[in-house]
Symmetry: D3
Subunit: 135 residues, 6 copies
């Protein structure tokens, strides 16, 4: 079993708030992340696929192919977008790093046909990140 | 003459478009940066001050003091903000890295009373940045 | 189950030696790390918490809260300190990255009340680090 | 159980192709990585050893000793080399990050006599890497 | 005057030797960089353009346009290539970081029609780089 | 004219205080940097040499040679040392990044016989650094 990772970067805006809570509660919980006009990040995404090495290619999965899958099903929906308004797979979710990781997992899990999706990591800043392994 | 640098990070949303141009022209020039709901970045800011070493302290300027100046006059106005709507010193400007650098220069230049402001660098992504030296 | 990580940095001095060994043995084992006046590092600390996403917040644990816990129980005791003399939770320990990781684990493990502490990583340099998972 | 990591860097050339396939198949699979004159990378290697802390030293394994093992059995065979021609432990293998990771694992696994080899990670670029854990 | 920078990465092989010198002299000067089968690097390229801000766009030069110029005239000739054999603008040159910087300068200097080329930096490793400013 | 840079890292302890000032003044100026037992950093040093390319080698100065000069005259005196006690060229100086840069400049300036020393940069943390150019 080998684990291969592809790293991508996307730039997006978001606002953290829960529409079911009062303004005061949202301010208490989300503080400056609840700025009404939003703010943004250069998100770093790491996608890990686990599998056996294919002796014909020396690859678990060709990372050029993995890159294309990530681009078609994730990057095209989040890069230079506002995650609260523009991203179908986050509709109705508070776009925290946690929920973004889970959302990306379900975008990718059935598109990967060599090896199996093992982990999705989303770095919101150099100091904060979330990881989901489908369990 | 010594050059001292303080690095800070801020997370902001922005949208690039020129309200004096047509929608088609804006799309042509700004492409995905013109997304109507905006997008965002973790901006990295580097502020350089040049001066003589004060023999009493060994400092050109105490970087704790420089940090506070940057926080009061820049970070408080851009971090977790939307640069098109929330930032007074960018009003009426297209918030490119170039214009942000110049805007930050004029926020800081007369607040620094030990040494002189030498350079303001703004990294929009790990691949794109702008620098202004006041000339 | 989601894993969320908070990264912090602290600057500290230390000296590696075992008072129960002879000077010659200490030199042999710890070499330049045994410099009598000490040396130091910018340590990078990564704290991982594992848990379910709280649907009210989208968080496993609010990273602002985790940051405060880390600051109160770890950073305040190690940042701009000498780990051999100033840090209560390392008293009587050789302050290697291994022992620092374990020490930090026990500072944090019962303070985290949303999710559970999963891992503590301590980078001594960009080339050397240790991780403890409580097992 | 503690996990300690040593990071090393090496600069090498390689060419990806499978001599049992036709030129057209090689081009299809390996694309620009199949450039006949080769290309190259600054590879980053992370070696993780897991074990108990030795109370005499505070170490799982002295990282100076681990560094020497890695240098003698890996770096000397790959740094400033062409992986297809100069590296005995990759002979007959397509030198993908996957195969390099497995090759390095078997170079190291029986040389480490304090703790046990836990993981070998090979970063080919800042965006692509492979990890092998011996399973 | 504003300075804008675009960073690109390319992976290439090279061998350092001077065909006019003896084997012994080449070994003495270039040591392991003279490995007969070559070695390689992930080169990082930073291209700086200096100019006035265009009030219509807020740009000195659109970095998407600069990226395309760099791709067409540099990256296409060096990425996944062997610099001694595959790169026309380095023919007859020893492909050191110094000579690569100068070579890239002359590839770009007359292609940039908004602002002026100010600097070309080439990082061979994270520890070694060269910069040329056309003077 | 080409500028070549060599980056080195050293780990050192220091304490910032001015023995000619009172304890209260030292606390006011240097705050936590005045911890009586000291603290420390992984300093990053960048040394820039400017000169013409030697057509025989393609180098301004062989960076292996520059590395040796830096090692012999700087790294051997600061790495795994306490800058207040162990470093001859900082005796009687407050070991700020500013004073360390100037001290390193004078260690190196007359040892470099190919090209000329152009700049010495000392990063104390990822957020704070100083640069001296000999003027």
């Amino acid at each position: 079993m080998i684990y291969v990772t592809r790293r991508e970067v996307f730039s997006a805006a978001h606002r953290l708030f829960n529409p079911e809570l009062s303004e005061a509660e949202n301010d208490l919980i989300f503080d400056k992340c609840n700025n009404i006009n939003g703010h943004g990040h250069n998100y770093v995404l790491e996608v890990v696929v686990a599998g056996e090495i294919n002796p014909k290619t020396g690859y678990v999965i060709d990372l050029k192919k993995l890159k294309k899958i990530i681009k078609d099903f994730v990057i095209s929906k989040v890069d230079h977008k506002h995650l609260n308004f523009d991203t179908d797979f986050l509709k109705g979710k508070i776009p925290t790093a946690e929920n973004i990781s889970v959302g990306i997992w379900y975008q990718l899990v059935d598109k990967i046909d060599e090896g199996k999706l093992y982990s999705v990591k989303v770095f919101e800043t150099e100091n904060n990140y979330a990881e989901y392994k489908g369990e």
